[in-house]
Symmetry: C2
Subunit: 125 residues, 2 copies
């Protein structure tokens, strides 16, 4: 990183990896155990169990997923916040492909983030 010492991990850094993207896709269908995820990923990417576990750790550490323990099992759930962050980042480009939408629906689409009342302004970086 060219910035200094602190490693500020942006949401995009996490999604840069295809395995992690695939894991999130799996979690989009609802919570999954580490084992279930590992089975699918191992089949699709031919990597080891530790490799998958490491990706799960990254997803945990970066807030993209949360875990719930149940006995020896670990149930992973996708966490929307960082994904929303990505969505928010995309807002500045939406104008270039939403021309065909009328003002109302655009407003509504944007309304997702632009809450009715107060709150901090959208984070910039």
């Amino acid at each position: 990183m060219q910035n200094g010492t602190i490693t500020v991990v942006h949401a995009f850094d996490i999604l840069g990896d295809p395995v992690r993207r695939r894991i999130l896709e799996l979690l989009a269908d609802g919570e999954q155990t580490s084992g279930a995820i590992t089975d699918v990923i191992r089949a699709e990417f031919a990597i080891s169990q530790p490799a998958v576990s490491q990706h799960l750790r990254v997803l945990r550490d970066s807030g993209f997923a949360t875990v719930r323990a149940e006995g020896a099992r670990r149930f992973y759930t996708v966490e929307p916040a960082p994904l929303r962050e990505i969505d928010t980042w995309l807002d500045r480009f939406r104008g270039s492909w939403e021309h065909r939408l009328d003002a109302l629906s655009t407003e509504l689409a944007r309304g997702r983030r632009t809450r009715p009342a107060g709150g901090p302004p959208p984070t910039q970086e």
Copy 2:
């Protein structure tokens, strides 16, 4: 890469780099010359002119930006397609943060891509 030989570059791979994200942000305001971009990036990230040029090349090669030559100048423009691809990928997660929207506005927001009638299910990867 764990997949084989072919290097399928996903849109997210490009956005993993903070410099490239920043360049795209600059382009969101309209086309910019290589020089203008370089000035800003050099100031913000303290990297060399070639480094910026290399990032511009990546953005070109991956379809995130297009160039128009005018004399010795190169005007860069952001290309929406790959960004839309990201937006589309996010669709599968939107349900987790759009609960508070009423059905209509959700429908409109989704309507961007999800055509009124039949068609193939959302692309999987």
